[in-house]
Symmetry: C2
Subunit: 221 residues, 2 copies
């Protein structure tokens, strides 16, 4: 990274999608400025102008040029600051990593919303869907240390922030991910020992309070 | 491509997602075998085993190794057979291309389903959503010849197959994309002049019949 690089992240501390960008930048050793957005009180003009399509965080501004959508941002970070690499060097393995990143994007957060965002009793089908999704992910992990194999990589960065929302999801759902997916839980604990992850993932109790707040803002309860 | 390469596509002629893989392979000059899947009559064991997560076409088998999800497949084709390149060489432009490919994946087909798949009269909101989505896409195209700029590229390949479903969507929705999005229509016509596109995109009337069939299979009407 050249000295002149200016890297700014439009952020919300509780967003797992913002956490992805922060972990990726930390893994690459890139200095960056975090600008917190008040998503409920009013978004900044910079956010609205930088992401006119979705008007959502995270937005990464690299020397003033905006990048949107967290998986795209992590890919850009990997290409712009190549060391250490996050995606595998082999095209087939890279495609597999993109497949799983896409699976996580399509399934994990939304499956959780159906639990912690539900009005009244959580439907059994929602719990089953959530656990089934995690079991598929656990199948992709297999017996490897990380989704990236021996080293923490692209899919790990896409997946690990979503696990910070597991605690509120478990509390509303009345189950424990640890009991359903022991290998995935071991992977979470291994990731939490990394500095890049530990300093970004919020305290579960604080996130639980945030979920209570989000439910109230959406008129649930 | 080495002589020994075996490239097989598990395909359905009407699937815009399969069309993406076929256009990308044609652009790269890769010889491949198409194996038609009978999606309503019973999927092959090869499909079920190659794509256990989604059990859907397209699946690309490269020397027997399966790749799933059309956007991942097109990216893999671009990396494996580098000439001519489909994604831009600049990391920022590449991230923009991935952003728009993702936008198309999230929005365009599903917005169309709400029109041609609707029971009874098509809701005005569904038509508005579809047209708004296309207008955003038209904004990304701007005054360029292709989404890729001067040359047909990654986003063009992701987007153009979906336009083959516009005719049934227009018939059910009672509007014309040409009237709503003239620049996007001009881009469609330009793409249709390419051999790789013209030989893959089906006859609109045949696709309309297919949509009628799909509606019947799903108990609509």
């Amino acid at each position: 990274m050249s000295k002149g690089d200016e890297v700014v992240l439009l952020d919300c501390w509780a967003s797992p999608f913002c956490m992805r960008a922060k972990i990726a930048l930390a893994e690459k050793g890139v200095d960056f400025e975090v600008r917190a957005e008040d998503l409920f009180g009013g978004k900044s003009d910079l956010l609205l102008n930088s992401n006119p399509i979705y008007k959502k965080v995270p937005v990464l501004l690299h020397n003033g040029k905006p990048l949107c959508e967290s998986t795209v941002i992590v890919g850009y970070i990997d290409e712009t600051w190549p060391s250490p690499p996050l995606l595998p060097s082999c095209a087939y393995q890279r495609a597999q990593a993109r497949f799983w990143a896409d699976f996580i994007d399509k399934k994990v957060f939304d499956a959780g919303v159906k639990i912690w965002g539900s009005k009244g009793e959580v439907p059994e089908a929602a719990k089953e869907e959530f656990v089934e999704t995690l079991k598929k992910l656990e199948g992709a992990l297999g017996d490897k240390d990380y989704f990236g194999g021996d080293s923490f990589g692209f899919v790990d960065i896409i997946a690990i922030p979503l696990t910070s929302w597991f605690y509120p999801t478990e509390k509303f759902g009345g189950f424990k991910v640890e009991n359903e997916c022991p290998k995935l839980s071991a992977w979470i604990n291994k990731c939490l020992q990394r500095e890049s992850v530990a300093k970004v993932l919020p305290d579960p109790e604080k996130l639980y309070e945030f979920v209570i707040f989000v439910r109230k803002m959406h008129g649930i309860e």
